[in-house]
Symmetry: C2
Subunit: 414 residues, 2 copies
């Protein structure tokens, strides 16, 4: 099926336009005048970050029968090729760091996936995302040296909503002793918990990401840089905390430039649940060089959770995938929440004009990667994203072994 | 996981024993004294033919979203490698012919799988099995030049049982004008129907298989040969008709040897429904050099279908997979009927002695290829047999196409 990346190759000026306009596209003016009608470059830009969030799902092993349940599948060097983001993709990045999270409080089972195997790779940690940096080649398209952080969400079920409480806690690690802003204790726990016994979470996801951001900001301090955060669902919530943390604590500038303002930090969040209270929103609004765009889908319930005492932050792009003539109507709670469906929605969103028309030729078959959402007439298999034989690999003697994890050089990985 | 083929390599004498004993193992003496306790060579022999029947399933495309629904997936040259029967397998064959069937009467939907696509490869035909011949290398293990016919069954659901009627019809093509023996009209229709409009069924499955058997018997008429038929479920029923047809009509001997007796023809049938009436059984019992071994599983309902006015033929090997300590108890209608479960049952069958013990080290993970039947403690994914991304393949421009069919050189294939 057709792919919109093809069009880009034919219109180099269009690619230039992202490099030239990147600050606008990253929300320097809070996306004023770009959302309705939705700017063509911005469609492609949002979809690109959606794909980087999707990469975290597609790299995640959620099969509890595997001893690698909760871990990544592909090594850092292979990630983009394996999740289908190399061929025909002009946005070029290098993965520099994998991130792991644990939780010190009880959270819904979907947040931390645990293996059934007694030989489980980890009893308490999950792979939770990655950090990548734009290559020299990618910089010509994106216009700056971007540091990208992708936070994985929960697997595609929504059962966890029933288990989600609405308890709020202060966030002293983010707000340095200011205990007024309160945030959801689940998101905060995932972001900040460490576990002294854990090989991969001796430090928290927060400490891991901040250490790597510090290193990269230092490494590229003589270039124009930006930091972009992306995530879907739980990944959007954790990404919100991460974005605010980076700006509130000055991790968006080199160590020796304490008084200058930091680089632009932008979070592209998809289907984000609510994260904090009104004090949290106030604290957010005082931060400089921080922008948040939330893409929400009309019938998705998650952006309304938790329902009481929470405030939304940033700018909302409200799409409606039920208007798509490619999808089964009306869809269901899974398809409304799905990240791939959100990207399809961004590609065809028509705003106040109404209706639906694919403005970027993103392959529609991607919607069915984890869903049965495309109309049958397109003859695309449902939930087609799967390893060959679910990771069972035949050995030379004819027997079969589950081989669903590539080793990587993480020094912390045992 | 361990594989019993490994053991074979270490004990060449054991492999010799199949070559030396093949007539006994193929039922020359109607398997007298070999079934309880179950002869070790015979276990491996039955499992081998089960795997050849399983190859027909694993090569079949049953995804109705595909325009190739109802067709094979892999070309003849790649078949055994693609279905996992090349590595570590000493039984070497060359596929010489693919078979196609249609039905001139209404049969349950599962018998003829139809694509939802308007660009369907065929409106009326299904790929129904293959013919293979033992290579020179394989002949040293199997003791003769064997012609093997594998008939595919229905896909693994059992919904079709509810749609199965019990109407019997004479079988004039098999019994040459003798209209006393009657057989199930569904099996007979699949075996004998042609369709002048159909590129692949201008001739019936029967005509296709008999033409190829004739060719191969002629080609190898100076060697010792045998013909073996294998099939599971519907494939066992059609295989029964085919075995009887071959012997009743003398296709088991070269054309110029009209008066000599033909070669031994043996059918290894798994989970076979009933095929014909008592006259059919009588006709079968008069045929020379024809042997049938039916493997049936204690709680499987299919061997009792159709329930009235039908007779069973051949020798029964009655296993009971609920005795296996590897499988979830008690199982369900799908696991009791499954061909992979039957092979597991044959590997561990203990007969009158009772209990269950794996006598051949066939990889237990194979049971879960199309089932969730192994106990969770083995940490084998359920229903793990699947193409990478269900056949969706990324193109150079980044888009995705469904590529789930290898072209072959069948002159009849359009």
């Amino acid at each position: 099926m057709r792919n919109w990346f093809k069009r880009k190759k034919k219109s180099t000026d269009k690619m230039d336009s992202i490099a030239k306009r990147w600050k606008l596209l990253s929300g320097k003016n809070n996306w004023e005048g770009l959302l309705d009608p939705l700017d063509h470059d911005l469609r492609r830009y949002i979809i690109h970050y959606g794909e980087m969030a999707q990469a975290s799902y597609d790299n995640f092993n959620s099969d509890r029968a595997s001893k690698n349940a909760g871990n990544f599948r592909y090594s850092k060097n292979h990630l983009f090729a394996k999740v289908g983001l190399e061929k025909g993709n002009l946005f070029k990045y290098r993965v520099t760091k994998y991130l792991y999270a644990t939780s010190s409080i009880q959270v819904p089972e979907a947040f931390i996936v645990k293996s059934l195997s007694r030989e489980s790779w980890s009893k308490e940690s999950n792979w939770i995302g990655f950090i990548a940096v734009v290559t020299d080649e990618g910089k010509t398209i994106l216009g700056r040296r971007e540091i990208l952080i992708s936070w994985r969400g929960t697997v595609q079920t929504l059962d966890w909503v029933d288990d989600l409480d609405c308890f709020q806690v202060p966030a002293p690690k983010i707000f340095r002793g200011n205990t007024d802003p309160e945030v959801h204790r689940g998101w905060y726990s995932i972001y900040t918990s460490d576990d002294a016994r854990s090989p991969l979470n001796k430090t928290s996801a927060r400490d891991q990401v901040l250490e790597e951001v510090t290193r990269l900001v230092e490494e590229y301090k003589h270039e124009e840089i930006s930091i972009t955060i992306t995530g879907h669902s739980m990944g959007a919530a954790v990404g919100t905390l991460n974005a605010i943390d980076i700006v509130a604590n000055g991790f968006n500038k080199p160590r020796d430039k304490g008084m200058t303002s930091g680089c632009l930090v932008t979070a592209f969040l998809f289907a984000s649940p609510r994260v904090g209270d009104s004090n949290f929103r106030n604290a957010f609004s005082k931060l400089e060089n921080l922008r948040i765009l939330r893409v929400s889908n009309a019938f998705d319930i998650i952006p309304n959770y938790p329902m009481v005492d929470y405030s939304e932050i940033g700018v909302e792009l409200a799409i409606d995938t039920t208007k798509s003539n490619y999808l089964k109507v009306p869809g269901d709670v899974r398809s409304w929440h799905s990240l791939e469906a959100h990207m399809h929605g961004v590609a065809g969103f028509q705003g106040a004009k109404g209706g639906f028309k694919l403005e970027v030729q993103r392959d529609i078959s991607l919607v069915n990667k984890h869903l049965d959402a495309l109309k049958d007439e397109y003859c695309v298999p449902s939930s087609w994203w799967v390893e060959k034989n679910n990771g069972m690999v035949q050995q030379d003697d004819g027997s079969w072994n589950l081989m669903d994890h590539e080793d990587d050089d993480d020094s912390t990985y045992t």
